[in-house]
Structure formats: C-alpha cells, structure tokens
Symmetry: C2
Subunit: 217 residues, 2 copies
C-alpha cells in the first residue's frame, strides 16, 4: 500500500495547495501556476511543493508548471473531496455551536470543501431533538444508527475532557474513521482510526516559547 | 543562539509533556516518571521523549527517570509559562466568544497555564466598550495603547478572512510577538513574529485523506 508510506507532513500541506488553486480558479483566468508561485502563496518552499506533489503523480510540465484546473481536480480526488463526505459533531456547547456556524459558512464559501456537517450529538436532553442552523441534534444513544444512516466518516469532538474518550469510543465502535478532537486529552483509538488533535491551549503554550522574556516593572 | 536551532516539532511536544506532569502532580504522590511512561501518556515514543528533553539539559537520572516536580518547573521555564503572559483576542464573533469562554475554563483549571486573556478587540461599535466574561472589548484603534498597557505578547485572531491581514499588521506594528490565527488565510509577518495557524477546515480536509473511499448507494 503506497498510501500508508506518505508522511502526514505531506498530507498536511495538500489542503494548503488546494486552497491556493481554489482562490486562483475564483480570482482569474490563470490556467497554469509555477511551483514557485504555488509555494509562495501556500507558504511552502517551491522544491517542497514539487516533492510533495510528486508522491501522487506527474502533475507538472517543465517550463509551464501546473495546470490549475487539472491539479485542483487531482488534489480533490487525493483528499477524498471529489464527492460529498458527511461529518458529525458531538458536544453542542459554545465551542460546538461556534464551529457549526463557522464551518457552515466555510462549506458554503468553498467549492472544494465537500464536507457536510450532517448531524450533531449531545447528552443534554434539553438540546436533543432540537437543531442548530438546521442541523438536527441527536442523543448519544443515536450514535450507531445515525453514523450508519448518514454515512458519517468523520466526527468533530467538542465535549469536556472527561467525556471525550467515552464519546470517541462510541463513534469508533459505530464505524467512524476520522476524529478531529478539540478536547484536551489524548484519545485511545485503534490504528485504523485517524485522530487529529486541535488544542488551542497547547498551541498557545507552544507560542509562549517563542515570546522572548522581558523584565517588566 | 541555541534556541533558534531547536525544531518546532520538538517545541510542539513540550506542552504535551507538561500536561502529563501536571496531571501526575494533581493525581498522586508520584515523584518520578520514566521516559517510557511519560511517552505512553503523551503519545510519544520514549526515545523521542529523551531526545526532546536532552535539547534543554540533563533532566533525567539513569534508572530513576525524571523527577516530576523538577521537570515540570523546568518545562514551565522553557515555555515561558513560569510567569504570567497576557494574551489578546481580536474578533468577538461566535468563535471568538466560544474561545474566550473555553480558554477561561482551561486557564482556571490548569495551574501551568499562566496565560491570561487580558483584552478583546472588535471593529463593531456595538461590542466596543462592553465585556465578555468580564474581559473588556476594545476598538481596533486601541490596539497600540492596549498592547503597551497590558503588555500583550500574543494575539488570537478570529476575524473573517478578509480582515485578518489588516488586524495582524496592526498588532505586529504594536509589538506583538506571537499570533494564533484562526482565519483561513496565510498571514504575512516578519521573521521576528511567530505565527501558528489553526484552521479547522484544513484539518478536516487532511482527515478526509485518511477516510477510505466506499461506494455508496
């Protein structure tokens, strides 16, 4: 399986390239782009752009660069964004609601997105049966049936830390394959499930490292 | 400067180690931890734990491991978390408000955090002069004076994409040194300013790569 050999660092950069190509397709009639320009726009060195894309095929032409429309289509296929991918979100608190609203705006604005927020989940009976921005809120006991029915592949977890592993396990058991985890805990998951952690606190702590110390009065 | 030679991948893992040590200090009377256990709890291989920490000094003892309290203090110092670090946030929309609430909970729960959300900023006159969870909301014209007065070193950007560069430039000019950017754009910043991008859409697109294709009816 060639797929598994490509490092996650490469995969991380593909959506950056796709965004540049989406913008180009919207902005102008540009038909081709050099690895140099693609790199500058994506914030990646041109040699790395060429190396990253070479993992997936021969997309560029010597002296011409990459065809915008073609490379965009290919990247969508590689990232599984060429067809609709339903996503769930569990934990309809303030962060969950904000992400729901924010994501819906992005989904609407971005042609290449193709991720659809299809179902929300919460343990609060006051929220279950309601909806946020038109998306229904289900109870945790509905996880297996909804994952099946809506064909959910990915779940966004925005529950408190102490509940995260429980809800993650429920979704994993129901057959989910990707988790975007906002809870500040390390989730246990089998190798077949890909977990991406997004922890604002960790990012801030990392940023603090780069802030030089000053003596303040 | 040895500092600059340490890769960001190393810096990314330090907050993970710190979290494990914080939990241990809370949980029990454990006085020492092996690189093996620290690695398991942080989700990092033990050899990498030892290698990462060795960049900063000789913290471990052969056959004993790391002293929990000592290593925790050292990591706090390395990450500039041993004294209070004031943080600003610009863009008091639903994501900004959710992060404000969420972060405040983390700050209160986490002894090692030492990051203080000290000021909020927005361009909406209806919001300026008000407050969220007791934190005052200032206008964009107040950026220079507030960065100075509150000693802000880091700013969280949660404004729409089209406004992100403008607000980033204002904060950079005012002397900010770290940016946590939630807007889906690549910000232009001098090398002296460290930018961390947190883009939920990009993370979801990356996750989509790992979801095997299935044929659906």
């Amino acid at each position: 399986m060639r797929w598994n050999k490509i490092s996650d660092a490469v995969i991380r950069r593909l959506p950056l390239y796709l965004r540049v190509l989406d913008d180009l397709a919207d902005e102008s009639e540009t038909e081709s782009i050099s690895s140099q320009e693609l790199g500058v726009r994506a914030g990646v060195g041109p040699a790395l752009v060429r190396k990253d894309l070479a993992w997936f095929g021969e997309f560029g032409k010597q002296g011409v660069g990459y065809e915008v429309g073609f490379l965009r289509d290919e990247l969508r296929k590689i990232l599984n964004l060429d067809s609709n991918l339903p996503v769930g979100l569990v934990g309809v608190g303030s962060l969950g609601v904000a992400l729901t609203r924010y994501q819906l705006k992005r989904f609407a604005a971005d042609e290449s997105f193709n991720l659809e927020l299809a179902a929300l989940f919460d343990s609060d009976v006051a929220k279950i049966g309601g909806s946020i921005e038109g998306i229904p809120v289900y109870g945790l006991e509905d996880i297996p049936s909804q994952v099946q029915e809506k064909g959910l592949k990915i779940v966004i977890i925005t529950v408190p830390a102490q509940d995260a592993q429980d809800v993650a396990s429920r979704f994993i058991q129901a057959g989910i394959q990707g988790i975007l985890n906002f809870a500040p805990v390390k989730l246990q998951a089998p190798d077949t499930v890909h977990v991406v952690n997004t922890d604002v606190s960790l990012e801030l702590q990392r940023l603090a490292y780069y802030v030089p110390k000053t003596t303040k009065g």
